[in-house]
Symmetry: C2
Subunit: 146 residues, 2 copies
DNA sequence: CACAACCAAGTTGTGCACAACTCAATGTGC
DNA sequence: GCACATTGAGTTGTGCACAACTTGGTTGTG
């Protein structure tokens, strides 16, 4: 009956909410040792992978707006991990550069996922399947919002 | 090689983070119409299902602590949806009761999941499989933290 | 050229999450 | 009976998310 379906719906969304917070809290001790929060870690991952990027590009990569990114980047800058500079070509835009210290943090961050990979209790294939389902779900949902 | 595995790890956790925010934003318009935030909606779901519960029980059901729940419940109380009362048997504990208005909101909330169930682009079986994987992942992770 | 439309960041305000702490009530061992 | 630990809520402080708005820069059009 319909009520089952509706209840299942709620459970999926709650499961997602709970799982996301659980994974973040699993990362927390390792990231604390690096002096990073989880969203800050995501920003650094983008910088380590791509090098200097515009704030706008960070926002597209992580699906975050300037209201979240501006203060976060200010804190990363205060921590000496990134540098911000206005674009010469377009004075509206700001490019984010990893500093030497920010780049060096990459080596220490390499060990973070290694510490956590065993904690999921799932095999690689299962994790990959889960990831693909999550990505598909996210894409379907964001497509609805056009 | 190891780097692939580590990168996959990151992607699973980012996929989770992104999917959770996407689902919450999908709920937002419907919940706005009810005057609820998503965490407030979760609290009301527990109250609708179980009736009056202790703050501690709410915390166990949603995996939230008093630092999150106390101000949230204060806002629900200010909105007239719940009432809080000290336990007679144990003066430390506080029981949360849905008000008449809070109970009546259930009928309007019934239509919320219906509006959203189609937006996932996934069938019931797929959603159930996804939910089970998420629950298992959450359980494995929280078991690590003992 | 003027000017409206648009755009990238940043700011402000609200509401979670979560750590660390306080406080009062309860439970425990001696 | 009484020190002492434990427990349940609440408070404080920090850092996201996100809506709404502001500011300064750019672009398109008449």
């Amino acid at each position: 009956m319909a009520a089952d379906e509706l209840k299942l719906e709620n459970q999926v969304c709650f499961a997602l909410y709970a799982a996301s917070r659980a994974v973040t809290s699993l990362y927390r001790p390792a990231l604390d040792a690096l002096g990073l929060t989880y969203p800050q870690y995501l920003v650094m991952l983008v910088l380590w992978e791509r090098g200097p990027v515009l704030v706008k590009e960070l926002g597209q990569a992580l699906d975050l707006d300037s209201g979240t990114l501006s203060p976060l980047l200010k804190r990363l800058e205060a921590a000496g991990l990134v540098r911000r500079q206005r674009c010469a070509e377009d004075e509206r835009a700001v490019r984010v550069y990893p500093t030497d210290e920010g780049g060096a943090l990459r080596d220490r961050a390499m060990s973070v996922p290694r510490k956590l990979s065993g904690a999921t209790g799932m095999g690689l294939a299962e994790l990959e399947a889960l990831r693909e389902n999550l990505v598909r779900l996210t894409e379907e949902i964001t497509a609805q919002q056009d």
